[in-house]
C-alpha cells in the first residue's frame, strides 16, 4: 500500500510543479503586490501545516506501535493540554497577528490621488464591462480585458447590476465580490509585465464557467500608448470585404446591442466592439480571437457558451459571414 501512496504522492508533486510554475492564473506565480504578500503567507502556513501534520502522524504511530513505557507517557491529561492546547495557542496567536499585519499592509496601497487612472469593472451575464476613467475625465469602454501599467496602483471599482460575481485575477490579488447595490474597490499594483488570466469566482448561474478575462500588465509608457489607442474611434473599413462587413453589421441590427465608436452602432447591452479585433480573446476568454472565431461565434454561440444573452444569427450566407468576420477582426 505504501508504495502506491508514495508513487501517487510523486505524481501529485510533479503535477503541482507543472501547474504552479506555468499557470497564467496561478496564486503561486504572483505578479501583483497583494498576490506576492499572500504568496509568502501561503508558503509559511503550508510548511507549518506540513510540520504539524507530520507531528500528529508520528505521535499516532508511536501511540500505536511505541514501547509500553513510551506509550504510558502519552496517556495523561498533561500530554493533551500540552500538545492540544498550549502548542496550538502559541501557533494560532502568532498566525493571527501575522494575518492582521498582512491585512494592514493592504491599507497602504490604497487611495490613489485625484487625476489618476481608475477602472470601473461591471459584472455582466456572463462577461466583464471594463471602463477606464483617465485623469482628464474621459470614459473609455472596453470588455473582458484589464490593461494596467506596471508599478502604479490602480483602483478598480467593482459593481454588478444583476447577480453576484467575484473578480479574481489570482496573479494580481485575491478576489473581491461584485454585489448589486454596492461598490467594492480593489487597488491592484502589477509588479511584472505580461499577460495573465482571471475568472469569475462566485457562481453566477448559467455560463459562470465561461466568464474569464485577461490581465495585460504593460511597462508604463507602453500602457500610455495602449490607452491612447483604446480611446481612439474604430478602424475605418479599408477593403471591400471590410466595407461589406460593416454594412452587414449595421443592417443586421448588431448596433442595437453593441457599440462601435465612430459608427452608428451605439448599443450598450453587449460588449463594446470598437477595438474587439485587438483583444486577446472572444466571449470573455472563451475562444481565441481570429476571423474564424467570429463566424463560429455568430452562428454557433449558444453551443459555444450556452445561455449567453446573444441569439444565434443563422441568417447570413457563408460569404456574408466571412465579410462580417473580417470586418470585426479588423477592428483592432
Amino acid at each position: 500500500m505504501s508504495g502506491t501512496l508514495a508513487r501517487t504522492g510523486l505524481i501529485v508533486l510533479v503535477a503541482l510543479l507543472l501547474a504552479g510554475c506555468t499557470g497564467t492564473q496561478s496564486v503561486l506565480s504572483p505578479g501583483g503586490v497583494e498576490a506576492e504578500r499572500v504568496h509568502l503567507l501561503f508558503w509559511i502556513m503550508t510548511i507549518g501545516s506540513g510540520i504539524i501534520l507530520a507531528l500528529v502522524v508520528v505521535l499516532t504511530g508511536l501511540a500505536l506501535f511505541g514501547s509500553q513505557s513510551l506509550r504510558s507517557r502519552f496517556a495523561n491529561e498533561r500530554f493533551i493540554t500540552g500538545l492540544g492546547l498550549f502548542f496550538p495557542v502559541v501557533v494560532l496567536t502568532v498566525l493571527l497577528v501575522y494575518g492582521l499585519f498582512v491585512m494592514r499592509a493592504g491599507a497602504q496601497s490604497q487611495a490613489p490621488e485625484d487625476g489618476q487612472l481608475r477602472v470601473a469593472i461591471e459584472g455582466e451575464l456572463w462577461w466583464w464591462r471594463v471602463t477606464y476613467l483617465d485623469g482628464e475625465g474621459n470614459r473609455i469602454t472596453s470588455a473582458n480585458e484589464l490593461h494596467l501599467p506596471v508599478g502604479t496602483p490602480v483602483e478598480l471599482a467593482l459593481t454588478s447590476d444583476n447577480v453576484i460575481h467575484s473578480f479574481w485575477a489570482p496573479t494580481l490579488a485575491g478576489k473581491l465580490d461584485m454585489i448589486p447595490g454596492r461598490e467594492n474597490t480593489l487597488t491592484v499594483t502589477a509588479t511584472r509585465a505580461g499577460v495573465t488570466r482571471g475568472q469569475c469566482a462566485e457562481y453566477c448561474g448559467g455560463a459562470h464557467a465561461l466568464m474569464a478575462f485577461h490581465v495585460v500588465a504593460h511597462p508604463p509608457q507602453e500602457f500610455e500608448a495602449w490607452l491612447a489607442h483604446a480611446a481612439s474611434p474604430a478602424h475605418e473599413p479599408a477593403t471591400a470585404q471590410e466595407q461589406h462587413g460593416a454594412e452587414l453589421f449595421q443592417q443586421a441590427g448588431c448596433g442595437s446591442c453593441h457599440a462601435v465608436r465612430g459608427t452608428e452602432a451605439d448599443g450598450v447591452i453587449g460588449p463594446d466592439l470598437t477595438h474587439v479585433g485587438g483583444r486577446l480573446s472572444l466571449a470573455a476568454a472563451t475562444m481565441p480571437n481570429n476571423s474564424q472565431a467570429f463566424s463560429d461565434w455568430i452562428v454557433n454561440n449558444q453551443h459555444i457558451k450556452p445561455e449567453n444573452k446573444m441569439p444565434a444569427y443563422e441568417i447570413f450566407t457563408e460569404e456574408q459571414l466571412d465579410d462580417l468576420s473580417i470586418y470585426l477582426d479588423s477592428l483592432e
Binding site: 499557470g23 499572500v38 506509550r71 500538545l83 453576484i164 479574481w168 448561474g205 450556452p306
Partner: protein, 846 residues
C-alpha cells in the same frame, strides 16, 4: 431518594416469567403491512440510517458524473445546465439529506440503547420526522431526473435565485423542499435534547454520561439555534419569489448580503453539527479498541461545548470577499482561530487514549476508519486554519482549494467515523457481524481513493481553478490534476461498493447478534431486545460493564430497575437532568398510522405548493393537521397510580409542570421559535442599516396611530389573562367544564384578533409590502407571529375538545399546560413585535 451506590441490587430475583412475555408483547414490532407504523427506535433508526445511506449513494453517483465531466478540459460529457443542477443537488443532498439525517439517525438508533431507556421520549415524533424526511427527500432528489432540479448551488445566493434570474419551479423545490426537511431535523433535535437530559438511567449523572450523549446534546442545541436562521432565510426568499416582497433586491432597499448572513449563520455551525456527533462516536470506539477509559473525558466535554459555541462566531468567515470592513473580518478570523483549539484537544485526547491501553490498540476495521479519520480530519483542520487567515482566503475562497478543504473536513470528519460506526455497532441491529476482510478492502480503497481525489484539488485551486465550473479550458495546466482527482473518486466509490457487498452478504436485520463483541464498557452492549434492556441498570461509573462485569447478567435477569411493565403499556423511567434521580414513569405511545399520515400530508402540502397547486396543497395541509390531532388525541394518557421500579422507589405515572418531559419539549420548541424571531429582528435592523432611506417615517408611510398597536397589545395581554384564569378553573378529575372551554375559545379568538389588527393597521396607512424592503419587513412581523398564533389556536381548540370530553382536568392537565405555554410565548413575541415595528420608526424619526 438518594443515589444508592450499588450495595444491593434494585430488584430481587428470580423474576416471574410473565414479565418478560409482557415486555415482548408490549414492545413487539408490528409485522407485515403494518410495519410502517412501527415507532421503536431500533426499527425506525435502521430505516433512518438506511435512507441517509441511500442519499449518500445517490449524491455520490452525482459526484462521479461531475468527476467524469471534469476529468479533462473542454469536455462535453455533461451539459452546462445539467452540471449546474447536478452540483446543486449533490451539495444539497449531502448536507441536508445525508449528513444531518445520518447523525440524527445514529442518535435515534444509539441513544436509547446507550442510556438504557426503553425508547426516546416522543417515539411518534421521531417516526414522523423520519417519514417526512424520506418522502420529502426522495421527491426533492428525483427533480434531477426531470430537469426540474434547482441550479443555484446549495447556498442559493440571491439575486441569482430570484425569479428574474431563476424562473421556473426549480429553485422553489430547494426552498420548500429543504425548508420542510429542516423542520424535520428540528423535531429530531427536540427529541434528542429531552431524551439525553431526561431519560438517562438512574445514577448516570452528567459526569457519567457517555461522550456520544454529550455530543448529541451539543448537536441538538446547535440545530435549535442554527436552523431557524436558514428557515427564516428560505421563507424570505420564497416570499420574494412568490409575492415580490423585496428582501434581497437592492433597488427597493433589500440586500443580497442579508441572505448570506442568515444562510451562513446556519451554514457554518452546520459543519460542526455534522462533525461533533461523529467525534462523539470516535470517543466511544477508541476506548473500546484500546480497552481503557478515555483519557481526558472532561477535556473532551469542554471541547464539545466550546466548539458548539465558537462555531456560531464564524459565519462571516464565508463572506471574507464581500468587501465588508477589515476589522469585521478580523473578529471572525479570531473566532476561527479559537474554534481550532477544542479540535486540537480532541485529537490529542484520542492519541493519548490509543497509547493508554495496557495492550496495544486493536487494529480492527472500525480502528482503521478511525485512524483514517484522524489523518484526513487533521489535514482538513490545518487547511481550515489557513483559510481562516483573511488574506489567504481572498485567494483560496471559492477555488478548488476550498473544495479540497471542506471535503477533508466533512468526509474525514464525518463519513469515515460513520463507516467505523457501521462496523462497530452493526451487531445491535444485525444477526451477523460485517466482514473484517471486506471491511479492510473497503477502508483502503476509500482512504487511498479519497486522498488521491481530494489532495490534488488543493493545487488545482491554487493554480486558479474556481469552484462550480462545469468545464475549463484544456490549456490551463489543470488537466492532469483533474484526471488524478477523477481516478481517486472512482477508487473511493469502489471502496463504498465493497462495503455494499459486505452489507448484502452479512447484514441480516434482527436481534440475536453477539452481545458485546468488542468488549465495550458502555450500556448499548448490554443484552438487548425490542424493549431495550430487560431491566434498566443502576449506573455508577462511565464504563459500567467494565467496572461491574456481572452487570449484563444482572440486567438480563431483571435485577435492576423496571424489569416489568407495571402500567401495562410502553413506558420508561424519567430522571432528573443533572443528577439522574428517578422522577416518574413516562407512558409512551405505540405504533400508529397517524404520524405516518401526518408526515405524508405535510410533505404533500409543501411539494404541491412548490408546483403551485395551491388548492390541493391546502387540502393536504388540512389533512395533515387532522392526522396530527388524531395522533395527539391518543397521547396524554391518564395516571395509573404509583408504581415501584426497584429499591422500594415508588414513582408517579403522570407528571405536570417543570418536571414533565413535555414541559421541557415545549421550552425547547419556544427556543426554536425565539431564535427564528431573533433572526428576524436581526434582519430588520440589518436592512435598516443598509437602506435607511426607505425606512419610515422618511422613506415610507409612517406607522398607523398608536391606537392600533395598543388595541393589538390589549388583545395579546387580555388573551393571556383569559388563558391564565382558565388554568385556575380547570375542573375536578374526570369532569368536564364548559366554562374553561369558553375561556379557551375566547383566548384563541383574542390571539387571532391581535394579529389581524396589526396587519389591518398597516394596510390602513397604505404601506405596501412590495414597494420597499421596509414594507416587506413590517408585514413579516405579524406573519411570523401569526404562524405561532396559528399553532397556538389549534392547540387551544384541541384543549377545548379535551376539556369538553372530560379528558382535561385539574390533575391531567399537560394538554392545557402546553397550550398555555405556547400562548404566553406567542403573546410575548407579538408584544415585542409591536414594540419594534411601531417603536423603532418613531425612535429614528425623532
Amino acid at each position: 431518594m438518594s443515589t444508592h451506590e450499588l450495595d444491593e441490587l434494585p430488584n430481587k430475583g428470580p423474576r416471574p416469567a410473565h414479565e418478560l412475555e409482557d415486555l415482548k408483547r408490549i414492545w413487539a414490532t408490528p409485522t407485515g403491512w403494518r410495519l410502517p407504523t412501527a415507532v421503536n427506535n431500533t426499527v425506525i433508526g435502521v430505516l433512518y440510517i438506511g435512507a441517509a445511506l441511500l442519499f449518500f449513494l445517490m449524491a455520490g453517483v452525482l459526484a462521479l458524473l461531475m468527476r467524469t465531466q471534469l476529468a479533462v478540459g473542454d469536455n462535453n460529457f455533461l451539459s452546462q445546465d445539467l452540471y449546474n443542477q447536478i452540483f446543486t443537488v449533490h451539495g444539497t443532498t449531502m448536507m441536508f439529506l445525508f449528513a444531518v439525517p445520518a447523525v440524527e439517525a445514529l442518535g435515534v438508533m444509539l441513544l436509547p440503547q446507550m442510556l438504557a431507556a426503553r425508547d426516546l421520549p416522543f417515539p411518534r415524533l421521531s417516526a414522523f420526522a423520519i417519514w417526512a424526511y424520506i418522502i420529502g427527500g426522495l421527491v426533492f432528489f428525483s427533480t434531477v431526473f426531470y430537469d426540474l432540479a434547482p441550479k443555484g448551488g446549495w447556498f442559493m445566493y440571491p439575486p441569482m435565485t430570484l425569479l428574474e434570474y431563476s424562473p421556473g419551479d426549480n429553485a422553489d423545490f430547494w426552498l420548500l423542499g429543504i425548508g420542510f426537511i429542516e423542520i424535520s431535523a428540528i423535531a429530531g433535535a427536540i427529541e434528542i435534547v429531552v431524551g439525553v437530559l431526561r431519560t438517562r438511567p438512574p445514577g448516570m449523572t452528567l459526569a457519567r454520561m457517555p461522550i456520544f450523549a454529550w455530543s448529541m446534546l451539543v448537536f441538538a442545541a446547535m440545530i435549535i439555534f442554527a436552523f431557524p436562521a436558514v428557515i427564516l432565510a428560505t421563507m424570505l426568499l420564497e416570499i420574494e419569489r412568490a409575492f415580490g416582497w423585496p428582501f434581497f433586491t437592492a433597488e427597493l432597499g433589500g440586500d443580497s448580503l442579508l441572505w448570506q448572513h442568515l444562510f451562513w449563520f446556519f451554514g457554518h455551525p452546520e459543519v460542526y453539527i455534522i462533525f461533533l456527533p461523529a467525534a462523539g462516536l470516535v470517543s466511544m470506539m477508541i476506548p473500546t479498541m484500546a480497552q481503557t477509559p478515555l483519557v481526558g473525558y472532561r477535556l473532551i466535554v469542554v471541547a464539545l461545548i466550546a466548539t458548539g459555541f465558537f462555531s456560531f462566531g464564524l459565519w462571516v468567515h464565508h463572506m471574507f470577499t464581500t468587501g465588508i470592513p477589515g476589522m469585521s473580518l478580523a473578529f471572525f478570523s479570531a473566532a476561527s482561530m479559537a474554534v481550532a483549539i477544542p479540535s486540537g484537544i480532541q485529537v490529542f485526547s484520542w492519541i493519548a487514549t490509543i497509547a493508554a491501553g495496557r495492550k496495544r490498540f486493536r487494529i480492527t476495521v472500525p480502528s482503521l476508519f478511525i485512524l483514517g479519520f484522524l489523518f484526513i480530519f487533521t489535514l482538513g483542520g490545518l487547511t481550515g486554519v489557513m483559510v481562516a487567515i483573511v488574506p489567504f482566503d481572498w485567494q483560496a475562497h471559492d477555488s478548488y482549494f476550498i473544495v479540497a478543504h471542506f471535503h477533508y473536513v466533512l468526509v474525514g470528519g464525518m463519513v469515515f467515523p460513520l463507516f467505523a460506526t457501521f462496523y462497530y455497532w452493526v451487531p445491535m441491529v444485525s444477526k451477523k457481524m460485517l466482514s473484517e476482510r471486506l471491511g479492510r478492502w473497503a477502508f483502503w480503497l476509500m482512504f487511498i481513493g479519497f486522498n488521491v481525489a481530494f489532495f490534488p484539488m488543493h493545487f488545482t485551486g491554487l493554480a486558479g481553478m474556481p469552484r462550480r465550473v462545469w468545464t475549463y479550458p484544456g490549456n490551463m495546466g489543470w488537466d492532469l490534476l483533474n484526471t488524478i482527482s477523477t481516478v481517486g473518486a472512482f477508487t473511493m466509490a469502489a471502496g463504498v461498493l465493497v462495503f455494499l457487498v459486505d452489507l448484502a452478504k452479512n447484514f441480516r436485520f434482527g436481534e440475536g447478534g453477539p452481545d458485546n463483541p468488542w468488549g465495550a464498557g458502555t450500556l448499548e452492549f448490554l443484552p438487548n431486545d425490542t424493549y431495550s434492556t430487560r431491566s434498566i441498570p443502576h449506573v455508577t461509573s462511565l464504563e459500567p460493564q467494565w467496572d461491574r462485569p456481572s452487570l449484563a447478567k444482572e440486567v438480563e435477569e431483571g435485577l435492576h430497575y423496571l424489569p416489568n411493565a407495571p402500567t401495562g403499556g410502553r413506558e420508561t423511567i424519567v430522571t432528573s437532568a443533572i443528577e439522574a434521580k428517578p422522577q416518574y414513569v413516562l407512558q409512551m405511545p405505540g405504533p400508529s398510522w397517524t404520524h405516518l399520515g401526518a408526515a405524508a400530508f405535510t410533505a404533500a402540502f409543501f411539494l404541491l405548493l412548490t408546483i403551485k397547486q395551491v388548492e390541493i396543497a391546502i387540502a393536504c395541509g388540512v389533512l395533515a393537521i387532522v392526522a396530527c390531532i388524531i395522533w395527539t388525541w391518543q397521547l396524554d394518557k391518564p395516571e395509573q397510580g404509583e408504581v415501584e421500579i426497584g429499591h422500594g422507589i415508588k414513582l408517579p405515572t403522570y407528571m405536570t409542570g417543570p418536571m414533565s418531559h413535555s414541559w421541557w419539549a415545549m421550552v425547547v420548541l419556544m427556543l426554536v421559535a425565539s431564535s427564528l424571531y431573533v433572526s428576524y429582528f436581526f434582519s430588520y435592523l440589518y436592512l435598516w442599516t443598509v437602506s435607511p432611506d426607505v425606512w419610515a417615517p422618511a422613506g415610507s408611510p409612517p406607522p398607523p396611530p398608536l391606537l392600533w398597536p395598543i388595541g393589538s397589545a390589549l388583545l395579546f395581554i387580555g388573551g393571556s389573562a383569559v388563558v391564565f384564569i382558565a388554568g385556575k378553573l380547570l375542573p375536578k378529575p374526570r369532569h368536564m367544564s364548559l366554562r374553561v372551554a369558553g375561556l379557551l375559545t375566547l383566548g384563541a379568538a383574542a390571539l387571532g384578533g391581535a394579529v389581524a389588527l396589526e396587519i389591518l393597521g398597516h394596510m390602513s396607512t397604505g404601506l405596501s409590502p412590495t414597494a420597499s424592503s421596509y414594507g416587506a419587513m413590517v408585514y413579516m412581523a405579524p406573519i411570523l407571529t401569526g404562524q405561532a398564533a396559528f399553532a397556538t389556536i389549534i392547540m387551544c381548540l384541541f384543549a377545548v375538545g379535551r376539556v369538553i370530553t372530560a379528558q382535561l382536568d385539574a390533575k391531567r392537565r399537560v394538554t392545557f399546560d402546553n397550550a398555555a405555554l405556547l400562548y404566553y410565548y406567542t403573546a410575548g413575541q407579538g408584544l415585542f413585535g409591536l414594540l419594534l415595528i411601531h417603536g423603532f420608526p418613531r425612535l429614528i424619526g425623532g
